[in-house]
């Protein structure tokens, strides 16, 4: 499972284990699974899709302006706004 943290300036919105997250990167959407190579990207305003388990219906969140980092601990998204 992938450790996924979603943080805004005012709160830690999510911190949970999920199967996959697709992120609206500034140079195209990308999906992150467990064991993804270390990766950093800026994020454009768009929709975040969180898949709790393989093949399940994704949960969608709109985010605005931010930054995504994938490291050995998991995926961290710093967003300015989550709507």
């Amino acid at each position: 499972m992938l450790q996924f943290d979603l943080v805004t300036p005012t709160a830690l919105v999510r911190s949970e284990e999920v199967y996959m997250v697709t992120v609206p990167g500034s140079e195209g959407d990308f999906g992150v699974l467990e064991g993804h190579a270390p990766f950093m990207s800026t994020v454009k305003a768009g929709e975040l899709a969180i898949y709790k388990s393989a093949g399940s219906e994704p949960e969608r969140l709109t985010i605005e302006g931010g930054f995504a980092e994938v490291n050995e601990r998991g995926l961290t998204i710093l967003a300015e706004k989550v709507g």
Partner: protein
Amino acid sequence: MATLKELKGRISSVKSTQKITKAKKMVASAKLRRAQAAAEAGRPYASRLESVVASLAAKVGKSDSAPKLLAGTGKDQVHLLLVLNSDRGLAGAFNSNIVKAARDKAQSLLAEGKTVKFMLVGRKGRPVINRLFPKMTVATYDTTGFRDLGFANAAEINEQLMAMYEAGEFDVAHLFFSKFRSALLQEATGQQIIPVAMNADAPAAGGAAVEYEPDEEAILADLLPRNVTVQIFKGLLENAASEQGASMTAMDNATRNAGDLINKLTIQYNRSRQAAITKELIEIISGAEAL
């Protein structure tokens, strides 16, 4: 000697003042809890952003192509002091401590022959700074319309700041606010926010080859202004907590002083009442004796 009626009036006026300060103290302590919670909720974002920026900055370093926010303008002439104040008084020395810290910095910069400019946030700092340093305030940010200052406010302040930086109106920016240590102790502090102070021993981005999209410098250029916003936001949050803490202590003192004053006045009132009674008795007795 004040008459009994005057004393009575003074006692009741001090009592109503005490009621006000007591109420304000309770409001402040309730608001303090909320402000503290907000300050804590903001910490994960700030710390993560900081660590990412630090590791990226260490990587990109002071190369020629490094963003201006990191490398500076190459000059050290014009300093902008961004002073965060509140809109309301009744908070003890909270606002004047912040202004004092900014004033000391400004005076030492002026003594070195630098140019000083001010950007003032909040209403309370304006009159003092305008009097001490006339015509040096280049921008103000009005916060009277907002109940709680949020990230959006920090972003707006940052936007103004960035526009001025891009236009070359200043070389170095300092942020002045009150750091929240505890409800009893707040510390007015100043810190440099532009150019970003480099942390020399920042951890390198953990051994593994990290892929960047777009590239390191573009990410850094995107993150640096965000980092400044976050620092301003942190300053606003700390300020909000400090203001309530200072207000709580000041109002607690005022309530206690009012209590002391009421005691003193009551004793005085009772004494003069007794004196008046005794005097009346003496008059009656000596009147009766004279007959």
